[in-house]
């Protein structure tokens, strides 16, 4: 993807890091500014800019979930913020005045992870780096997962998830992953990808990447999230399910999640302004218990039930779970949930 930052900002404390060196080497033509703290920058910043900063808080956070709905007990590895894919529905559009930010102090990240997870050896943790970024979006620039995969999967009670819409997985294939890494893709029918996720890799490319990861010993995951309700959705999504199982055997799938489109109401005008051709905001979205807009529950039930049935037809033992829904709905639509 030909993308060059308008400006690179490097915090003084991050300047000597491997991440900063790699970023600067990758974008030799971008103007660089060094400063004490990114937040002190006196000027306009946006998604066209790239910042290399020091993470001064915790790298590891429990997924906050959403009020009134069941949390799947997921942990987030906060390695940066921002995404070049700019999917129409992404909550990151709330942060338009924030540069893409990559945290440089990876040694601290590894230390925090070892400290946090090894101190709780009786618990099993699902940890992912793809919450505030696409896990692999900046990997070819930072090499972040070359480091994270061997280190985090070396912790016996951690399953590390690399979540992406990319097909650029070659650098992962030779890494030591101890059988505890899951490379996962969010998936949608091509008509949705083209309209709403146009900068992401085509589904076929993602599935070829998934097959390559399986061949390298990884387990893989798929997130039907956000599910989009539109005329013809059922056939299109079932076709996606068929294509997944044409590329990957059920035993190699760690999990499949289902989650309906949902977003904060304040995102609606942003989506309408930035993506005037998108029809997502005109879907039958109502306020849920958490105040977010989400499809009316009967629509979600129908979509979850149908998708779950399609998955189970191929792999009855594949773990399927709902993202940010309640247990009652999960039971109603027959999803098994995660076993751990």
């Amino acid at each position: 993807m030909p993308w060059t930052p308008r400006k690179i900002l490097v915090e003084e404390e991050a300047a000597g890091s491997a991440v900063a060196r790699s970023v600067l080497a990758h974008f030799p033509d971008s103007p660089v500014e060094r400063l004490e703290r990114i937040k002190d920058y006196d000027g306009r910043l946006g998604a066209e800019d790239l910042a290399v900063a020091r993470q001064r808080g915790r790298f590891i956070k429990k997924c906050p979930g959403t009020p009134a709905y069941t949390c799947c007990d997921y942990y987030i590895l906060n390695v940066g913020i921002g995404c070049r894919l700019s999917c129409s529905y992404c909550y990151l559009h709330h942060y338009m005045n924030t540069p893409f930010t990559i945290y440089s102090n990876t040694d601290d990240l590894i230390a925090q992870a070892n400290d946090y997870f090894r101190k709780r050896p009786r618990r099993r943790f699902r940890v992912g780096s793809g919450e505030f970024i696409d896990s692999l979006d900046f990997d070819e620039i930072t090499g972040m997962h070359d480091l994270l995969v061997p280190e985090l999967t070396g912790i016996p009670n951690v399953t590390f998830e690399i979540k992406t819409k990319s097909d650029r997985v070659d650098h992962l294939l030779g890494l030591e992953h101890h059988g505890r890494a899951v490379v996962s893709w969010s998936v949608n029918p091509e008509i949705i990808r083209i309209g709403e996720e146009s900068l992401s890799a085509p589904l076929a490319a993602r599935l070829r990447a998934a097959a390559a990861c399986v061949a390298a010993g990884y387990r893989v995951g798929f997130h039907f999230d956000p599910l989009i309700y539109y005329p013809g959705w059922a056939q299109d999504y079932e076709q996606v399910v068929d294509e997944i199982f044409a590329h990957v055997r059920p035993k190699n799938i760690a999990w499949i999640s289902l989650g309906g489109l949902r977003f904060n109401p304040s995102l609606k005008p942003i989506m309408e302004a930035r993506f005037p051709e998108s029809r997502l905001t005109s879907g039958e979205l109502v306020r849920g218990l958490d105040g977010k807009l989400r499809y009316f529950i009967a629509i979600r039930r129908k979509m979850f039930r149908r998708l779950n049935r399609a998955v189970q037809a191929h792999g009855p033992n594949v773990a399927v779970y709902l993202c940010m829904e309640n247990q009652k709905l999960a039971t109603e639509v027959g999803v098994t949930g995660l076993s751990s």
Partner: protein, 156 residues
């Protein structure tokens, strides 16, 4: 964007010409409903206002302006949220069929997100309480939220 705004303004202007008095909340609600409907179905907000179903409401001389406005808002909301409307319709039809005691007031959870029901009642004497109890037993046996959601799910 400008032509979109112009179109919205034409639609609102047509409503004002029909002597509907729109306060700020009405204006915001109707604008959003029209925008969402035209985005979903194609056509413009002005086309929706010019449609026979809307014009029938606007021309209804048997109703006063506030009543016509309420009918218009309901029509647009029903069209904007057809599956939810289906659930609402089935739910209240079932409640009506149950012929519950008039002292019982019922409401479902917002947008049926939970299957709980809010039930309020008052009574003056033991006999009335027993009748209310019998009504509540019928309500419990009916499970109107489940029926409403099943029907809505089957409709989409």
């Amino acid at each position: 964007m400008t032509s979109q705004n112009d179109n919205q303004e034409r639609a609102l202007s047509a409503l004002r010409n029909a002597e509907l008095k729109l306060n700020r909340n009405d204006t915001r609600l109707i604008t959003e409903l029209l925008r969402d409907l035209s985005k979903r179905d194609g056509g413009s907000p002005a086309d929706i206002i010019a449609s026979a179903r809307v014009q029938e409401i606007l021309a209804d001389k048997k109703r006063n302006a506030p009543q016509r406005l309420e009918r218009l808002k309901k029509l647009l909301a029903d069209e904007r949220y057809p599956v939810y409307t289906r659930a609402e319709t089935v739910f209240w039809a079932l409640i009506k069929e149950l012929k519950l005691h008039p002292n019982i007031k019922i409401n479902h959870c917002v947008h049926f997100e939970e299957d709980s029901l809010e039930v309020r009642f008052s009574y003056d004497n033991d006999l009335e309480l027993r009748r209310i109890g019998a009504s509540l037993e019928r309500l419990a046996a009916c499970n109107p939220v489940k029926h409403a959601l099943d029907s809505a799910e089957n409709s989409c």
